[in-house]
């Protein structure tokens, strides 16, 4: 089922959490709402779920083209998974998963055997068959998260909404679980929106990323689109490291990359550290001269901190370790830098 939100505005007192947000989620996709804390992503998710409501008269939420703005959460057929799982602590795993079926009206409620069968099927799906009798406090974080997912799926939702699904887990489990979620989504193809502040997570598993900031949508696109062609300086800075340079001299260097920076030489230039090429200075060529100030060679990539000679601006460059040893760089060496890919934005638009 497709999800659309049009012109959603929501204020909590004087704080505008959402400011005319439009989002469009095609059927069967896995979409990430990505943004820093306070960007309104969770509020948007809760409004889609029906746990919050947009400010009166501000916007509409449509499921499959149908207006559900005024429907309460229980009537929207959504599965919602909370950041801290929100499992019912006094119920076993089995009871938790069965809850959504048990609270149905008598005529819609499956038989006792029907419920048991469905619960066991779901526990199998999330690979927790053996734990039906446990209480939430006896499970690990990753297991709790999967129980929460099974519980949300029990009511056969048309839409799955996950609020920071991996936020409370440690780094390793996070990585495993997010890959598992991607595979899981590929199996059941349910329209899914998940909220995250972790750009790596969003870029790795989402079909589409919605980047939010201060109650607005900054950009929507596939992970590759938003990473390679950020629409705003915010997106540039949020999705990974970036050098922000002012030097007009760089604009000249930029002209070679064909990104139109020469049209506004007064703008700020955004370039990712791995989009900068280093060549030895005495090899000649058209790059800008810079001096090596620091070399951090720990980790998979080497980070070289340079000072550009004309403007005295600092530039961070990421190159592979082998490239570093080929260049044989040392502190205070002179090098030439070329920008492979860069964008420029008006200065007043910068953050």
């Amino acid at each position: 089922m497709s999800i659309e939100a049009h012109g959603i505005t929501k204020a909590f007192g004087a704080f505008a959490a959402l400011n005319g947000v439009d989002v469009n989620v095609p059927k069967g996709k896995l979409v990430a709402l990505l943004g820093p804390s306070g960007s309104g992503k969770t509020t948007l998710l809760r409004i889609i779920a029906g746990l919050e409501f947009p400010d009166p008269g501000s916007g509409r939420v449509l499921f499959h083209g149908e207006d559900v703005t005024d429907l309460p959460a229980g009537k929207r057929r959504v599965g919602f998974v909370f950041q801290h799982y929100a499992l019912f602590r006094h119920m076993t795993v089995f009871e938790n998963v069965a809850f959504g079926l048990r609270v149905r009206r008598h005529r819609d409620r499956p038989s006792r055997e029907g419920i048991a069968e469905r619960v066991h099927h779901l526990l199998q799906l999330v690979q927790l068959e053996g734990l039906a009798g446990r209480y939430p406090s006896q499970l690990s974080g990753g297991q709790r998260q999967r129980v929460a997912l099974a519980r949300a799926l029990a009511v056969e939702p048309k839409v799955l909404l996950l609020d920071e699904p991996f936020g409370a887990l440690d780094a390793r489990v996070r990585k495993d679980l997010r890959r598992w979620l991607r595979r899981f989504h590929d199996e059941i193809h349910i329209t899914t929106i998940f909220v995250t502040h972790d750009q790596e997570e969003a870029l790795e598993i989402a079909d589409q990323v919605v980047i939010m900031n201060q109650g607005r949508v900054e950009q929507v696109g596939t992970p590759q689109e938003v990473y390679d062609r950020p629409a705003t300086p915010f997106v540039y800075q949020f999705l990974g490291n970036v050098n922000v340079l002012r030097a007009p001299a760089l604009a000249v260097a930029l002209a070679q990359t064909g990104h139109g920076a020469e049209q506004n030489p007064d703008g700020l230039i955004y370039v990712r550290p791995h989009d900068i090429e280093l060549t030895p200075h005495d090899a000649g060529g058209d790059g800008l001269s810079a001096v090596v100030r620091h070399i951090h060679a720990a980790g998979p990539q080497a980070r070289v901190l340079l000072e550009q000679i004309q403007s005295r601006e600092h530039v961070e460059v990421e190159i592979s370790r082998s490239e570093l040893s080929d260049l044989g760089l040392k502190v205070n060496d002179l090098v030439r830098i070329r920008l492979r890919m860069a964008h420029s934005f008006e200065e007043d638009y910068a953050i």
Partner: protein, 261 residues
């Protein structure tokens, strides 16, 4: 080590010793006299009145306390802070004042007094006054016990239940209530203990009519003023027993909740 010793010594002198004294005095003239003091008609009437008051006040305050705590902890609305303050009011006001307020409102010279007399309704110097005064004084116990607990638990579980299709009642009975059951139970015990033991407010509104409007604490006072010390302590020992039972239950609950957490 020294601090612990000081604390224990203090407790022994100011809590254990008086408590022991109550029981020693109560049985000074033997078990027979104890039973006679507790079973004489005025004492029985006082016990009956106390139990009746408790039977009305505690359920009423449970309903109110749960409703207020649920509203305060799980929702945000205008006037929430006023409601929170109002719940604490009985703690801040002297019980005697609480009693006087009811006399002022419902007494013969009070606002509604003439009207009530004209319609032959007695509130002051009768059971309704005692119930009202006790309810006022014990008003905060359940709510105060539940609010921090419910606030700490947050609303995620309720939101989950709602998103899974549960209605308000189902959410309350299946999710909220089971999560607060021990806190609620303890709130009820405390409320009960206070309702039985309340003296000041009840003293003002009751009129001390023996065999009619004397609750247990008032009966103890009457006996004491009659120099019937042993009988006074006999009835008092029943109240002291209640205090001990409350403590025991509290310890049991704490032990239980720690075990399951």
């Amino acid at each position: 080590m020294l601090l612990t010793a000081v604390a224990l010594l203090f407790l022994a002198f100011f809590l254990v010793l008086p408590l022991a004294a109550v029981f020693i005095q109560a049985f000074e003239k033997g078990a027979g006299y104890f039973l006679k003091s507790v079973l004489e008609p005025d004492a029985l009437s006082a016990i009956r009145l106390t139990l009746l008051t408790v039977a009305i006040v505690v359920p009423a305050n449970v309903v109110f306390g749960v409703a207020a705590a649920w509203a305060i902890a799980k929702f945000s609305f205008r006037g929430k802070s006023i409601l929170t303050t109002l719940i604490d009011l009985p703690f801040a006001v002297s019980p005697v004042i609480a009693g006087l307020v009811y006399v002022l409102v419902f007494g013969a010279q009070g606002w509604f007094g003439p009207w009530l007399i004209a319609h032959n309704v007695r509130i002051i110097f009768a059971v309704p006054g005692i119930v009202l005064a006790t309810a006022f004084v014990t008003f905060p116990f359940v709510a105060r016990e539940l609010i921090p607990l419910m606030q700490a638990q947050g609303t995620d579980e309720e939101c989950s239940a709602v998103a899974l299709g549960a209605n308000g009642w189902q959410t309350f009975w299946r999710v909220t209530l089971p999560n607060i059951r021990w806190g609620l139970f303890y709130g009820v015990i405390l409320c009960n203990a206070r309702a039985m033991g309340e003296f000041g407010a009840v003293s003002v509104v009751s009129g001390h009519i023996r065999g009619e409007t004397n609750t247990m604490p008032l009966h103890v006072e009457v006996l004491y003023n009659d120099y019937n010390i042993v009988a006074a302590f006999a009835v008092a020992s029943l109240l002291a027993l209640l205090a001990l039972a409350t403590l025991a239950i509290r310890t049991a609950i704490e032990w239980r909740t720690e075990g399951s957490a």
